[in-house]
């Protein structure tokens, strides 16, 4: 399967005439090949659309019609999917489709200036396709390269460490229409800086060791070890892993599925990237032993689109495991234990990290979180019992299967056993991956990564908690500061509002739009915050802002809406004076930006020169 190589390095750019007016029969043949490759399975719709997008730079109407007919699904489903995911489009994108990561860490590294420079050099506006169709330029949510930003994507492939000189070269390469395979390899280089390995990263491992240990000990006994390890899910919610596996194993409905959640969309998180890059064998082994325990013969790895660069090498690891008898039929010679893993790519949607949204996405639909109950353990993929676990959870399970539960439980705190991988970025000398026992105080971590002059730390990404420099004794633990791995450091030169606005905009951009409070509320939050930050808010607006935070938080359908107001709520709590100082003092100044309200008028009059702006008129 070559879905992953949607944008194959080897494809010379300028595909063929197909990008302009695809000839009927040519497109038919291409779509047919895509269908064959997907075995006509509608659940692989996303993979098919990724291939179509790569070939035709959008999802043409003809493709929609052909896919709908062949898959027996309504065309509305295909349109809905194409509109839901950031990297699928109904109108053609550039042959070089560039996205620049808009994470706060990228911004701190000068991303805005670089983006403007790139836009100017390429003569294309951000959010647009150049008239000749050669290039399109856009912002995108965090690409998971916060330790080596400013980062971006070209035709889906990660670009790291962007700077002015690299941009000069990139612009040249694009104008020359050089295929990506001719671009300097270092532009695509992804480092995995492991700064502090601990309990898990230091463990030696031989492929098959955890499975052999599991079979030797017995399945029930191994589940008992996972239980006594007290391992809790590393994807954020901290659900007890053994309980999830046991519940799934006793479900009567068959088949059972194992899903590895490699969506890693929380800005500032990149530890799953490192694990998939360097420890893939151990993750697949964790999935396989889970399969043995819950009785599953089919596993899925949901890989976020931004990690396309990992796709080929992950396929090779899978292939190697098949050849060594660690996947496929009668694994390790155990009669009747069959299990295989399929990699499916996402297409740009943070919400698809939420387990039930991910399942919807894996079924070829928009990633909209399901109504619960029932939980996916009981009614998951294809409405069958399903275990969804984070990459790091499977990684830990592999070593628990080898070393036993006690070994793991001795580390950390009673409620948060074992160690946690942190992705550290922002204002510190040594960004990268760190492994700590749970219970480690923030101040120790800051010392290790070389952060002085700390103004605050965002623990757990935008959906987590902002802590000020007065709270650095707090600890990484489910019972104190819970995090899936994101850890962003800010020094005293940073503006808190820049941070909060970036996070709030992120949630508005990523809301799936299913429920009213999150769909409408996240946009209202964004606008209300902007009003205050720009100095147009009165005291009543601050009240309104905090009320709105609570409405979104208390009434939303899923965890996204539940945490969308966290950046505002936690900084309102830690820095109330900041917000108060931002309010308009006099009672008679207008509560809105008069110039901005004239934007519509300016657009209608087709002018945007200085004279058309109020501030100029007043001077």
């Amino acid at each position: 399967m070559v879905y992953g190589v949607a944008h194959d390095f080897s494809i010379a750019m300028g595909h063929d005439d197909s990008t302009k007016l695809p000839s009927n029969s040519k497109m038919n043949t291409f779509i047919e090949s895509v269908l064959v490759q997907a075995d006509y399975k509608p659940e692989r719709l996303l993979q098919m659309l990724r291939a179509v997008q790569a070939q035709y730079l959008h999802i043409p109407q003809m493709a929609i019609e052909q896919l709908a007919a062949a898959l027996h699904i309504p065309r509305t489903q295909i349109i809905a999917v194409a509109e839901f995911y950031s990297f699928l489009h109904l109108t053609p994108q550039g042959r070089y489709d560039i996205h620049i990561s808009d994470s706060i860490t990228d911004r701190m590294l000068g991303k805005e200036k670089l983006l403007n420079y790139l836009a100017e050099k390429l003569k294309v506006k951000v959010g647009q396709v150049r008239a000749d169709g050669l290039v399109s330029l856009n912002n995108t949510s965090c690409t998971g390269m916060c330790d080596q930003g400013p980062a971006g994507l070209v035709n889906g492939y990660a670009l790291t460490r962007l700077d002015h000189s690299r941009i000069d070269v990139i612009v040249q390469l694009i104008e020359q229409q050089a295929p990506l395979s001719d671009w300097p390899a270092e532009f695509f280089a992804v480092d995995e800086p492991i700064r502090k390995p601990g309990l898990l990263l230091n463990q030696p491992f031989n492929s098959g060791a955890a499975l052999a240990a599991t079979f030797a000990r017995g399945l029930a006994e191994t589940l008992a070890e996972v239980d006594s390890s007290n391992l809790r899910g590393r994807g954020g919610a901290g659900f007890k892993t053994a309980l999830k596996w046991r519940t799934c194993s006793v479900q009567a409905a068959t088949p059972h599925y194992v899903i590895c959640n490699a969506d890693e969309g929380e800005p500032g998180t990149f530890k799953d990237r490192m694990l998939l890059d360097l420890y893939a064998d151990q993750i697949f082994e964790g999935m396989t032993l889970c399969a043995a325990i819950i009785g599953s013969d089919q596993g899925l790895l949901y890989l976020r689109a931004e990690y396309l660069f990992l796709y080929e090498q992950l396929q090779r690891v899978l292939q190697r495991r098949r050849e060594s008898g660690l996947l496929g039929r009668n694994i390790l010679g155990r009669d009747g234990f069959d299990f295989d893993i399929e990699i499916r790519m996402g297409a740009g949607a943070y919400i698809c990290g939420e387990a039930s949204a991910q399942i919807e996405s894996l079924e070829g639909k928009p990633g909209i979180p399901r109504v619960k109950p029932p939980n996916s353990v009981i009614c998951g993929y294809q409405r069958k019992p399903t275990v969804v676990d984070n990459v790091e959870t499977f990684f830990a399970a592999t070593h628990i299967a080898i070393q036993g539960g006690q070994w793991f439980a001795e580390v950390g705190t009673p409620q948060s056993t074992g160690s946690k991988l942190l992705s550290i970025s922002g204002d510190c000398a040594r960004p990268g991956i760190y492994e700590y026992p749970f219970g480690t105080p923030i101040e120790d971590i800051l010392r290790d990564c070389g952060a002085d002059d700390v103004m605050g730390v965002q623990v757990g990404g935008p959906s987590g908690t902002f802590i000020s420099s007065r709270e650095l004794q707090r600890r990484i633990a489910f019972e104190d500061l819970s995090t899936a791995g994101s850890f962003i450091v800010f020094n005293s030169s940073r503006n808190i509002f820049d941070i909060v606005q970036n996070f709030t905009d992120f949630f508005a951009h990523e809301s799936c739009g299913f429920c009213t409070p999150c769909r409408v509320g996240t946009t209202l939050l964004k606008n209300q915050l902007q009003k205050i930050v720009e100095g147009n808010g009165a005291a009543v607006d601050l009240e309104e802002l905090s009320e709105l935070c609570l409405i979104v938080k208390n009434n939303s359908h899923c965890g996204l809406g539940d945490s969308a107001a966290n950046p505002i709520l936690s900084t309102l709590a830690s820095h109330p004076e900041l917000y108060l100082n931002q309010l308009k003092q006099s009672s008679f100044t207008p509560g809105f930006d008069l110039d901005a309200t004239l934007a519509v008028a300016r657009r209608m009059a087709q002018r945007d020169d200085d004279a058309a702006h109020l501030s100029q008129v007043e001077n």
């Binding site: 509109e83 839901f84 799936c512 409408v520």
Partner: protein, 275 residues
């Protein structure tokens, strides 16, 4: 499973498979809703029916009723949030009730009245949405769509077609039509389809029927939505009179079973005629 749950101090019996909202409705206890419709698969998107069940927030239209549940629906906090959520729907789309054909028969409008909503509270979004008047008998005014998904479910589950879908992400949600052109006229909808009549707002309208009932003689002109919703359920179930309170502090109900509305209800709930 059947049994009794307690909603705002009222003991409410339920039967197998009922959600909280349906158990409540049948017992004459109104919990506001928009994306729910009796006889339809639960969807849970509008969040109007948000209640506290044993202290935890949940949607009454999706959560199965269970014996012994304690449900709070009419607390000041929940009512306040409900009003705000309704206001969000009003600013998201474009709802000019005084000139809308659906006025008086519109559930969104009626729910707003029920919540004593006096203004939009939030800044208006001024969404730009197109009208689809292509079909000879049916009109889509996208300005009034609240993405309740009822037309999608109606077409699929009741009409055995798939005329509608909801596309887009976040604030860019939009209702789409399953036809080669995207226009309603090229879809296989028929004016007799349930999907043509199910819309709780004025987003999908049957042409030439808007003023068959003049303003002032429409369903919510005379009866609050709390009554209409519950009376209909009581009629459907052929159901009985009062339910005992489950504690001393019996709270006031919205339109109880003793209301006079039952007498004027049409014999069977028929969505194809105006509501």
């Amino acid at each position: 499973m059947s049994g009794t749950l307690c909603i705002d101090g009222i003991a409410v019996p339920f039967s197998d498979g009922q959600t909280i909202i349906e158990a409540a409705r049948t017992a004459g206890v109104y919990i506001p809703y928009l994306c729910h419709r009796p006889g339809y698969a639960p969807y849970g998107s509008c969040k109007l029916c948000t209640v506290k069940v044993n202290g935890r927030t949940n949607t009454a239209c999706t959560l199965p009723a269970a014996d012994g549940q304690t449900v709070i629906s009419n607390s000041p906090d929940l009512q306040h949030d409900r009003q705000r959520i309704t206001q969000m729907l009003f600013v998201e789309g474009n709802h000019f009730c005084p000139s809308c054909e659906k006025s008086g028969n519109c559930q969104l409008q009626a729910v707003a009245y029920h919540q004593n909503m006096l203004d939009n509270h939030y800044p208006h979004f001024y969404a730009q949405r197109e009208l689809d008047a292509s079909h000879p008998d049916i009109l889509i005014d996208h300005d009034r769509c609240i993405f309740c998904n009822l037309c999608v479910r109606a077409s699929k589950e009741k009409d055995g077609k798939e005329v509608f879908g909801i596309a887009g992400r976040g604030i860019h949600k939009r209702l789409i039509v399953n036809s080669p052109t995207g226009k309603l006229k090229d879809s296989d909808i028929s004016v007799d389809d349930e999907a043509a009549h199910v819309c709780p707002t004025g987003a999908i309208l049957v042409k030439r029927s808007a003023y068959l009932a003049p303003i002032g003689e429409r369903i919510y002109d005379h009866h609050p939505i709390s009554e209409v919703a519950c009376e209909r359920a009581v009629l459907e179930a052929g159901a009985a009179t009062g339910y005992p309170s489950c504690d001393q502090t019996k709270l006031p109900q919205n339109g109880g079973p003793d209301s006079h509305y039952a007498a004027t209800m049409p014999p069977a709930p028929d969505i194809k005629h105006g509501r």
